[in-house]
Point group: C2
Chain length 119, copies 2
């Protein structure tokens, strides 16, 4: 049971689109990610997913709208809703999601991470 400092954890990795687990509770995982560029369209059939922005500006495209998220802002993407994150410059973000979640749902892509590292 230790204090987790986000800035220190972000300093431990540089690879983008590869979330790292920093905490686990109640079957959920807290992850940090660095992202830049366009991700792949996907959804998670059974998992809601929360994005919290620590640094930078993240756009998330949905089929019917696009939202823009700045530091201190968050969004909960309900299960089954297709989304595609886009970051012109690097974004640092925190994710809350069930431990069972697959990175890109049923979509397979070169960016898909099969197993998350813990840091």
């Amino acid at each position: 049971m230790n204090v987790i400092n986000l800035q220190q954890k972000f300093s431990l990795f540089s690879d983008q689109w590869s979330p790292k687990i920093i905490g686990e509770l109640n079957g959920q995982e807290v992850k940090l990610a660095k992202v830049q560029g366009e991700f792949v369209w996907h959804d998670h059939a059974n998992e809601d997913e929360m994005f919290f922005i620590v640094k930078g500006t993240l756009k998330i495209e949905f089929r019917d709208k696009t939202v823009v998220l700045n530091p201190g802002e968050m969004i909960i993407v309900p299960r089954g809703v297709e989304h595609r994150p886009i970051a012109e410059e690097e974004v640092l973000l925190m994710l809350f999601e069930p431990a069972a979640i697959k990175h890109t749902g049923d979509v397979k892509h070169e960016l898909t991470v099969e197993k998350y590292d813990k840091i």
Copy 2:
């Protein structure tokens, strides 16, 4: 499915030790709270609880140690672990915990909130 801005949400309330629900996902709730002073010793028998500090310095006493949390830092308190948050000056924090959680576990206290407001 809207963007949630923490600063805007914090502006909506001023009562301390009374967490407000700002999001729900996967049976979990995301809450914001303003706290100052000493809370009551308690634990949650079946729920892990995450504290993320947005503003200020929060101490959390455990029976065997005390931790100090600053903005951008978090801690996960496992189920069954007694804890007592203390804030000399007002602290703004985000909580991530199961929807079923009771504010002060099985402890009843004048600060105990029975039902959380959504904002």
